[in-house]
Each structure stands twice: as C-alpha cells, then as structure tokens.
C-alpha cells in the first residue's frame, strides 16, 4: 500500500483509573491505520476495548478514563495535540460517529431538523435556509420518506431504524473523511440491520469516506469489510484482509469467534462457544490475555504476553503458537 493512511493510530493507550489500586487497561498499546475509502472492521466481544478505541479517536473519553500514551494522526495531523476547541472542528466535520443505541442517541427535546442543521451551521457555516434545504436532501439520501415533514418531527415519533437513518444523515452531513460506526445495527431488527449496513456502504462509496466498523458480528464483517482487526483484552490479536482472515484463521480467539456462528450447511446440535468471559480490564491474566480461555494454552502463554507479529503477507497475529511457524491445524 503506497497510499498515505487517512488515520494512523500509534501505540494508543487509554486507561481508566477506577480507584487507587485498580487501573482498567481498556485500550492497551494499539496501533493501526485506516486508508482512504476502505472499510475496516474492528471485531471482538463486549469489553474487548472496541468502543473505547473509537471514543479515543474522537477524544470523547469520560473520567476516570484518560488517553495516557500514543498518537492519533488524521491526514498527518496529530489530534491529541489539538486544543479542546480545535477538536470540536474535527469532530463531526473530519470524523463522524454513529452509535449503537438509536433510541437514545438523539436529543428528545429538539426536532430532527434542528439536530441536523446545527451541525451544518457550525461546520459548513450555512445560513438557516441553506441548512434546512441540505437537511431535507440528506434525509432523502438516507431513504427517509416525507423528509419535509420529518425535519419538524421529534425523535420519539420515529422508529429505531428511522432514527439510525437520521444518525447516518447527521454523520454524513459534513462529508467527513472517516466514519466510525460503533455497532450501528446491534439494537435493530434483523430485517432493518441489512438495510442500514447497505445504506452505510452506499454512503461510504458516494462520499468516498473510509469506514471503521465496530461489530461483534463476523457475518457483517465478511460482507462489508476490506480488512479486519480482532481485539481482545484491549489489544489487537489478529489483523488481516477479510478473505485471508476468514480462510486462514490463525488466532485461537478468532477461531473461537468463528466457531460460535451457526452455519446453515452443517447439521450440528450445539454451537461451539468460547469458554468463560472476557476478564475485567483491571485484572488480565499474566502473560497472554487470552490464556485463561484458550484451548491451546501452553506454559509459556501464562508467563509472557506474545507480540503482534507479521506471519504471512498482511497477516498479523499475537500468539505464541506461530512464533516458530507452527500452527494449530490438525
């Protein structure tokens, strides 16, 4: 890849200082890049640090959390060095974000129109009339019928799917270069999920944005993402282009995730599941963070946390199994 990365996250650490003794290492030394126009998926269970990674990029981490180290470069500009005020010009304008809960993500006391136009007026310096016209266009673009009426309506008058469309309309309103979608379809009906994801893919193409898609749904990943990063315990454990990752899965955790998806062609009675739950971010096991749940755990795993290493072209894995070219395939 010779292109300049759009977003470059470099050794990012976001810790939450819970009390005097406990520090939750929600994001612990993460580095990745997103290139213009590509769709990158960030995958992992709840509590693996996906959302905190996204919020760190937006610098919307609330206390007691803090970005303690690392750099976030957007088109070469270091975001962590910007002042609070400068950062408000980046949010919504260069990077936009869509959240998981469309039901509560819109302010209940203002009209849809008000909430879209305030962005256009701030970032694009439009006047009231221009902003209104643009808001109606945007609502039409994201497939909301009777847009002229909807801009005068309140969020509670719309369904969850419609609200998520409004969120997308808001996110693309200032034509950002990067769109971060944090589990945008988790709270929606299955039938609506595909519509929303297709809409986002269309918008990505139409506005030539890069998309950072946060999800725990590998089905979604296989359909929409160019590249996948799998997160566990605040770290990236495997990273590869989507097809490569699905075809030659390396990390035991990724294998576990894939194993827990029901497959139509196979007749099984029970789905496989990864044993246990994600350990809390203030109490990771020593050594590899997945060692407490890994079926291939070795003695070394409980002592030394492996590095993320390139083992094939474009394929990074954080696992002791691959250090000397070995693998878990029978």
């Amino acid at each position: 890849m010779t292109k300049q990365p759009l977003l470059d996250v470099d050794h990012l650490k976001t810790y939450f200082y819970l009390d005097d003794e406990r520090v939750a290492k929600a994001v612990d030394d993460i580095s990745f890049s997103v290139y213009p126009g590509e769709t990158v998926a960030l995958v992992g269970e709840s509590g693996s640090g996906k959302s905190i990674t996204a919020l760190s990029i937006m610098q919307l981490i609330n206390k007691p959390g803090r970005i303690i180290d690392g750099a976030i470069l957007m088109n070469g500009e270091e975001l962590l060095k910007l002042s609070t005020k400068q950062m408000t010009k980046v949010r919504g304008n260069d990077v936009a974000m869509i959240f998981q809960e469309p039901m509560t993500a819109l302010n209940p006391v203002y009209t849809i129109g008000n909430q879209i136009t305030e962005m256009l007026r701030k970032h694009k310096k439009m006047n009231k009339q221009q902003a209104k016209t643009r808001a109606i266009e945007l609502l039409n673009t994201v497939g909301i019928p009777r847009a002229e009426e909807v801009i005068h309506e309140y969020p509670h008058q719309l369904s969850g799917g419609m609200r998520q469309r409004v969120m997308i309309a808001m996110a693309i309103s200032c034509e950002p270069k990067l769109l971060i979608a944090d589990e945008p379809t988790t709270a929606l009906d299955v039938t609506i999920q595909a519509q929303i994801l297709d809409l986002m893919a269309d918008m990505r193409e139409k506005f030539d944005m890069a998309l950072l898609l946060i999800t725990h749904d590998l089905g979604v990943v296989s359909e929409y993402a160019d590249r996948v990063m799998v997160m566990y315990g605040g770290q990236i454990v495997e990273e590869a282009p989507t097809k490569q990752l699905l075809r030659t899965t390396k990390h035991p955790y990724t294998k576990g995730l894939l194993g827990s998806i029901p497959k139509l062609e196979e007749d099984t009675n029970r789905l496989e599941a990864i044993k246990g739950t994600v350990p809390p971010a203030y109490d990771f096991p020593a050594g590899c963070r997945f060692s407490s749940r890994c079926p291939f755990v070795m003695e070394k795993c409980t002592q030394v946390n492996p590095e993320l290493e390139l083992i094939e072209s474009n394929h990074n894995v954080r696992c002791h199994l691959y250090e000397d070219g070995g693998n878990t395939d029978e």
Partner: protein
C-alpha cells in the same frame, strides 16, 4: 399541544369542586361555630338569643343548603363577613394581605431560581470540587434548619446586630409612593424572602446537580459532542432543557408550598400577609376568613400544578402526544 392543555384545564374543574367540598366540610367538622366563642365568653346572655341568631344566619339549615349558599357567594367573590374585625368583609380583609404574600412568594422564588440553578449546574460540571462540597454542605444545612429558627438568627445577626435589613413589616413609613415605596418593600422582603426560600434553594440545587449530571452522561450528549458541538452549546442547548424538565414540575408544586409555607415565616417577621391573618383567624375562630384563606391556598396549589403541566408540555415534546 392545545388539546393537551384544554384537557388539563377540564380536569382542573372537578378538582376545584372537590377542594371546595373539603374546605367546607372541614369547617363544618370543626367543633363549635361562629357564636360558640361569644357564648362561652359571656355566659350571662340567654342561650335563646344565640339560637335565634343562628336561625337568622342560616346556621341551622341542612349542610348541603349551607354549602350551596356559601359556594354561590364565593363564586361572586363574596367570602362573607369577618366575625372578628368588626364585620369587615373577608374579601376586603384578604385583598391587601394576599398581595403582600404574593410579592413575598415571587421574590423568594426568584431568589431560589437565581441561586439554586447556576450553583446546581456548576456542581454538576465540576463534581467533587471545593464549591460542590460547599454547596452540598449548604444544602444539608438549608434543609435541616427549620424556617422559624433561621428567621430568628437572620433577624438577630443581620437586623439587630448589623442593622442591614429591617426585621419586620413591609414599608418603612406611611405615605411612601413610587420607587421609594418599591425599594422599601424589597428591602423589607430580603430577610423573609431568604428565610422562606432557604429549603427550596437547597432542594433545587441538589435536584439541578443530579439532573445535569444525569443528562451529561446520556447518549444524546455524547452524540452532540461527537457532532463537534462546543462545550457551551452542549451545556446550554442540549443539557439544560432536558435537565429542567423535572425541575419545572417541582416548581409548580413550589408555588403552593411557598404561599402556604409563608404562614410561619410571616409570623416570625410580623409580615402582614395571608399567613399572619390565617393564624390570628384560627385562634379567633374567624371561620369565614379561615375558609377563604384555605380555599385560596388550595386554588393556588391547583393552579401551580396546572402551570407545571403546561410548562412541562412546552419543554418536553414527548408529553403532547399521549
């Protein structure tokens, strides 16, 4: 929205009716009547005389008839005649007092809002800061100190020792007019106003703090920030309106509480409002006055609730459509 307001007003009417029945019923249930006191005071008078007077005043009529007479008079603004103040009409007696109490209530509410809301917001933005702790401490004190006690301390310190504010009354002297009278009135209202508003200020401060904290943590505030809205926009546009919704509801009740709570405060400051009149009327068994004041306070509480509901529907669009 208009539909909603009309519906609320329609509900107001039966409540008003129930209120009059209760007030009348309570007055009836109280032992003795308007003449009992006089009878006891002067036992030499022939009981026949009182019996005749009772008949003449309609006190022996069946209760529903008495109620009907009373309510039709009240509807015309005629609350009867005071039994104590040389037979002056109750409406007359109340009018001037009512204005005083109303001024005091408005003044006190104004102080409450001006003090409590900014401090509450500050506390929420900087929780666990020095000022937040100070405000919390003040809140506890404000709620814990009884009105009358705070009033006495205020008089002792600010009036007697320092001489900054007058301790009682409404005007410094007779024959004042215009601005002079207005400022004299304000000057006299400072101590009773603060005393009356103390508990309310403490309550609102705490409410405002927890509401703003709550709203600041909500998803739509995160959305607003993610949209690149400035801190002041997030606070004053997106947070405040949502945080004020429950406060406005409380405010409606507060109108009633302030006016009826003024009874004690007015007594402490010898402020010639409805409260002092109420207490003297109760001790004198001046039933027409007691009934009139109870009814007026009841109506004010109902109006307060009605206003709260209407304001509520204005700030919160979700209310209008159910």
């Amino acid at each position: 929205m208009y539909k909603y307001i009309i519906r609320r007003i329609l509900v107001f009417i039966p409540m008003l009716f129930a209120l009059t029945v209760i007030v009348f019923g309570l007055a009836q249930a109280a032992p003795g009547d308007a003449l009992t006191g006089q009878q006891l005071a002067d036992p030499r008078v022939d009981p026949e005389v009182y019996e005749k007077q009772r008949e003449a005043l309609g006190l022996n009529d069946p209760i529903p008839v008495q109620y009907a007479k009373w309510i039709s008079n009240v509807a015309q603004g005629d609350f009867g005649k005071s039994l104590v103040f040389n037979g002056r009409s109750v409406a007359d007696l109340i009018e001037a007092r009512f204005a005083n109490t109303l001024y005091l209530g408005i003044f006190s509410l104004f102080i409450t809002i001006v003090v409590a809301i900014p401090i509450g917001i500050y506390s929420a933005r900087k929780p666990y800061s020095l000022l937040d702790y100070a405000a919390t401490g003040f809140g506890f004190l404000g709620l814990a100190i009884p009105n009358f006690f705070f009033g006495l301390i205020a008089i002792y310190v600010l009036s007697i020792n320092l001489g900054w504010f007058p301790a009682q009354g409404t005007l410094s002297g007779p024959g004042m007019a215009g601005f002079e009278a207005f400022f004299s009135r304000l000057h006299h209202m400072v101590l009773p106003g603060i005393t009356l508003g103390l508990a309310g200020t403490a309550t609102y401060m705490r409410y405002m703090r927890s509401e703003v904290l709550d709203v600041l943590g909500s998803d739509y505030i995160r959305t607003a920030k993610a949209k690149g809205m400035s801190d002041s926009n997030v606070l004053y546009k997106h947070t405040l309106r949502n945080a004020l919704i429950p406060i406005i509801t409380l405010m409606g009740f507060e109108i009633g509480v302030l006016l009826s709570g003024a009874v004690i405060t007015e007594q402490v400051f010898q402020y010639p409002g409805l409260g002092t009149l109420f207490i003297s009327s109760v001790t004198n068994r001046d039933f027409p006055v007691v009934m009139a004041i109870t009814l007026i306070l009841g109506i004010l509480i109902l109006i307060g609730n009605l206003l709260a509901d209407i304001f509520y529907s204005i700030v919160d669009p979700r209310i209008r459509y159910d």
